[in-house]
């Protein structure tokens, strides 16, 4: 197979996404009062409604409909006042009624969009034909249309027993746990506007940031509370007609989404260039072998026999209902990024990273509470470097760690005022994370205060110059780089407490 860059010269990928998100932050299921808790013992949170018992009827969860309206408002959708639930009829026992209650041609949210800023290496995945809209920090802006977001219910979990690795193929029998059945689920469908795996990844990432900020889901790709399918086809560069698409499933990370799509682009290009046919089929991304495999071939489109759900009255959402939801709309990641960049003066890319995670953003703002905005850069640095590294290594999150915003602010302050060096900063962070002590206490305990008193530093410089006649000679001979070595000797002599910037200045003066 050709490399992606090669393929892009001749072919234009056309990608659309279907993203399912469980509304995990609600208390109850979509159509019954069972609790939302998938991890309980099998079939604990089940009732006549979600078990599809004869005679049971659905009663929609108001908070779920508020959540989807919130999602629609946050993604620039039009909120449709009039809409109906529909039944999607197909036989599969993970859907207890053998139909899924979903929405018809008109969903609660229609016709939205999101803009993506694609920068750096990511931008190289898109062929530049000169029509791209430039981004504020290089790269370009991709405008992605959202067709609709509709409300539906999730299916039960099945366990396939007796096959290899729990696969359905070759399984001896299967077991069904209906705890998840009926979980409120919103499905967002994009227009086929995405043109690269990176754009797809960025879109999902952005969507996740938005939904997390709205607080409507825990958005875990790993546990499956956020799931994504990609539809992808290729067309000859310069042509308009869509090629045959394949549907990519089983994506459980942003990397899988990117890598699966990239593989499909390269695979389809190879098939097409060899004069073959791309079949409309569902393919499954296998992480271990890094390839896509056919799940099933769709000979004809499935006929789900949709019709309006007779058990549920139609919706005619009032202006008050929509405005009530709008009033709960929090500051969204893009707006927050701009605010951080403007009012705190931190780098736009740093601001975007902090603003993208509501817990981190909250932490940042708590750390900055009552502080001079000059401290912001240092706080941002500690969060994005020390803290992010620590959480990554420990497998923790901002929500589950014990480090407080005040501790981070205090460490940032020590760094910003040159009281400690950056390498000391890392040590203090580590100690703070392990012991829970405040940075100032750690610094005192370990005698780490950076010494910036010139009268204390001068003798150190004098003794180092004396001890290193060779390097002094080299410096005077024009090799000014050797000053780095001398600063290092000064630091060593001061047991790491001396201010390296001041050592440098003093050395330059004396040698100059």
């Amino acid at each position: 197979m050709k490399e992606l860059e090669e393929v892009l010269k001749d072919w234009e990928p056309v990608i659309g996404l279907e993203c399912h998100t469980e509304l995990t932050t609600l208390q109850t299921k979509m159509f019954c009062g069972c609790r939302l808790s998938h991890d309980d013992e099998p079939n604990t949170n089940v009732c006549p409604v979600c078990l599809g018992m004869p005679g049971a009827l659905p009663a929609p969860n108001k908070a779920a409909i508020q959540s989807i309206v919130l999602a629609g408002l946050a993604t620039n959708c039009e909120i449709m006042k009039r809409s109906m639930f529909y039944r999607k009829n197909y036989f599969y026992p993970d859907m207890a009624k053998n139909f899924q209650t979903t929405q018809g041609p008109i969903a609660f949210c229609m016709g939205g969009w999101l803009d993506l800023e694609v920068t750096g290496a990511a931008a190289r995945e898109r062929y530049d034909d000169g029509t791209l809209t430039p981004g504020p920090e290089g790269g370009y802006i991709a405008h992605v249309g959202i067709t609709r977001i509709h409300m539906e219910e999730d299916a039960a979990k099945m366990i396939h027993v007796g096959g290899i690795d729990g696969r359905i193929d070759g399984a001896d029998h299967s077991l069904i746990d209906y705890n998840r059945c009926g979980t409120p689920l919103i499905e967002l469908v994009t227009e086929p506007d995405l043109r690269s795996p990176e754009e797809a990844r960025l879109f999902m990432e952005k969507l996740r940031q938005i939904f997390l900020t709205l607080g409507i889901s825990d958005c875990s790709l790993e546990s499956g509370s956020m799931r994504c399918d990609g539809n992808i086809s290729l067309r000859r560069r310069g042509t308009k007609k869509f090629g045959t698409k394949t549907e990519l499933k089983n994506i459980n990370s942003f990397k899988s989404l990117h890598d699966g799509l990239e593989y499909e682009i390269r695979r389809q290009a190879e098939v097409l260039e060899e004069g073959g046919i791309v079949y409309q089929e569902t393919r499954h991304w296998e992480t271990s072998t890094k390839r896509t495999l056919v799940m099933r071939t769709k000979e004809t489109a499935d006929d789900y026999r949709f019709f309006p759900e007779p058990d549920l009255a139609p919706y005619d959402l009032s202006e008050e209902f929509i405005e009530d939801v709008r009033s709960r709309l929090p500051e969204l990641p893009d707006a927050r990024r701009d605010r951080y960049a403007q009012s705190f003066g931190i780098k736009r890319s740093d601001a975007a990273q902090i603003a993208g995670d509501p817990d981190v953003a909250k932490f940042f703002e708590a750390a900055m509470e009552g502080k001079d905005i000059k401290l912001a850069r240092s706080v941002a640095n500690v969060i994005l470097n020390d803290l992010a590294g620590y959480l990554n290594a420990e497998g923790k999150t901002v929500a589950t760690m014990s480090i407080t915003p005040a501790q981070v602010a205090s460490l940032a302050d020590l760094l910003a005022t040159d009281a400690i060096t950056s390498s000391q900063g890392r040590e203090v962070f580590q100690a703070m994370a392990e012991t829970g002590k405040d940075p100032a206490a750690i610094v005192d305990e370990r005698g780490m205060r950076q010494v910036s008193d010139l009268s204390a530093l001068e003798p150190v410089v004098e003794s180092v110059l004396e001890a290193c006649p060779d390097q002094v000679a080299q410096y005077k001979g024009g090799n000014t780089k050797v000053i780095g070595y001398l600063v290092g000797q000064c630091m060593k002599a001061s047991k790491g407490n001396g201010n390296p910037k001041l050592f440098n200045q003093l050395l330059s003066q004396k040698l100059g």
Partner: protein, 496 residues
């Protein structure tokens, strides 16, 4: 001692129990005895629930002994169509599919009758999953018409009508999707009421056509039916199509029809296929209403002819989807030697469902297919709009419309063997379900030729059910009080 309840209606029983002239336990036992004696002949019951009945009756007697105020229908034996869930009973829908299905909850309508003091004596026969007009399609065998055991009791709530007509219980509940309460009431000479859609909760009633189904009572008098409606009506948060309603249906019941306008649709009443004795009986009923002070007004229902077609599109589509859940996984019949899941489900359904159920499912599955949907389903919902509008216009001129319940009296078993021929006999009852309005069948004597009961149907606008009952009570008053079928009466009952 054994009590006779044949001549007692619900109102009298409740009164006697409240006064203490009879105990709830005696009444319950009398009902169970009557079932023991008569049901082998009639076969109205699929299951009798003596434990539930005696326990409920004992509770009422205890409450009375403790001086507590008794609910309005305390001690009245009741039985439920077997598509209604009642904890402690099986709910079979008269199907092999659900032969052993134990109710896991109690239907709201059932619970409301129990809360009103009714004593549950059993579950009643019906057409399988309520698909039919004769109760012949029950997996457990047909129910006989108490007026002539060679004849059908009507359907699908045939057991509900026959149980009342044969004096085994004074009150039953049925469900009506296209006439399934009114037509058997007509065939068995009792009162059967289909309330406005949304008046009574459907929660816990095994669904047939969700936008058409409505639960309603059978009794031997309009007054009993009104008492039952007092218990049944009102919003249930579990049924999102139910609506708030709080009115005493008995309050104006005897206020008469003076000055009211009753609509007559001549083209319908004299349509092809309506038997002469039925036409005569309806004309007589019209005269009686005039005599009571009502004015007859000719009205038009221009789209009535489309109702049967629309119904047989909508009902099978909804039924197909509602019955998809019977896949043998969570409940219901399941073959134990299936090759795979699809084989298991296909055979569970092939073995578990009777022929008419399969036919309706297949018809619905076809009608909803893409390409077919636009030809039938969508137009049927448009026709629904037209029919609803027709009724609205008619009700601007009249308070209710009078017409036959059925074009003929009870037919013999096997007489209507072609399913589509059976469908066409629902001509008077079906359009009401499409519009969601209320209708009641009131006994108006016996056919001059057949000697069998004839029911007159009164239909009224949505949520004017109390007014419709008032008109029905007035019509009823122009006839002799409704008795049990001959052979099932026992003059000189307990209170005499």
């Amino acid at each position: 001692m054994s009590a006779y309840i044949e001549d007692l209606d619900a109102a009298l029983i409740a009164k006697a129990v409240k006064e203490g002239s009879i105990s709830a336990l005696e009444v319950a036992q009398a009902s169970l005895d009557a079932i023991d004696k008569r049901d082998p002949q009639i076969h109205a019951f699929i299951q009798v629930t003596p434990e539930l009945a005696l326990k409920a009756a004992q509770d009422i007697d205890n409450a009375r002994a403790q001086g507590k105020e008794l609910p309005p229908l305390a001690g009245v034996p009741i039985a439920f169509k077997d598509n209604m869930h009642l904890i402690g009973s099986r709910t079979t829908c008269a199907s092999h599919m659900l032969e052993n299905y134990e109710s896991v909850f109690t239907a709201t309508a059932v619970q409301r009758m129990l809360d009103a003091g009714c004593v549950p004596v059993g579950k009643l026969n019906m057409d399988e999953f309520a698909f039919g007009s004769s109760t012949e399609s029950s997996y457990f065998g047909h129910t006989c018409n108490p007026y002539d055991i060679e004849r059908v009791p009507g359907g699908s709530s045939g057991g509900s009508a026959a149980a009342v007509a044969s004096g085994m219980v004074p009150l039953t509940l049925g469900s009506d999707t296209g006439g399934s309460i009114r037509q058997p009431a007509s065939f068995c000479g009792v009162v059967g009421f289909k309330p406005t859609y949304g008046m009574v909760s459907r929660y816990g009633i095994v669904a047939f056509g969700s936008s058409l189904d409505q639960v309603g009572p059978f009794g031997r008098s309009v007054h009993d039916v009104a008492l039952a409606m007092n218990a049944l009506a009102g919003r249930d948060e579990r049924d999102c199509t139910s609506q708030p309603w709080n009115i005493d249906f008995t309050a104006d019941l005897n206020s008469g029809v003076e000055g009211m306008k009753i609509g007559i649709v001549s083209s319908l009443n004299n349509a092809e296929g309506v038997e002469a004795e039925v036409v005569d009986a309806i004309n007589k009923a019209a005269q009686n209403l005039t005599a009571a002070g009502a004015e007859l007004v000719e009205v038009e229902l221009p789209h009535a002819a489309a109702a049967i077609a629309a119904y047989y599109v909508l009902a099978p589509c909804e039924a197909f989807s509602n019955l998809a859940r019977f896949d043998g996984v969570r409940y219901g019949h399941r073959p134990n030697d299936a090759r795979d899941l699809a084989d298991m489900t296909s055979r569970a359904r092939a073995e578990g469902f009777g022929p008419e159920v399969k036919r309706r499912i297949m018809l619905g599955a076809h009608l909803l297919a893409s390409g077919v949907y636009d030809k039938y389903y969508y137009p049927a919902q448009q026709v629904r709009a037209l029919i609803t509008e027709d009724y609205k216009k008619a009700y601007e001129q009249v308070d209710a419309i009078l017409m036959p319940t059925s074009p003929h009296t009870a037919f013999k078993f096997g007489e209507l063997s072609n399913p589509t021929q059976m469908y066409l006999s629902d001509m008077f009852t079906i359009s009401l379900n499409i519009a969601g309005n209320a209708g009641i069948s009131v006994p108006v004597g016996f056919g001059s030729a057949s000697g069998l009961p004839i029911g007159a149907q009164l239909i009224g606008p949505a949520f004017q059910d109390h007014k419709l009952l008032r008109i029905a009570a007035s019509l009823e008053a122009s006839y002799e009080a409704t008795q049990c079928a001959p052979g099932f009466t026992k003059k000189g009952g307990l209170l005499s």
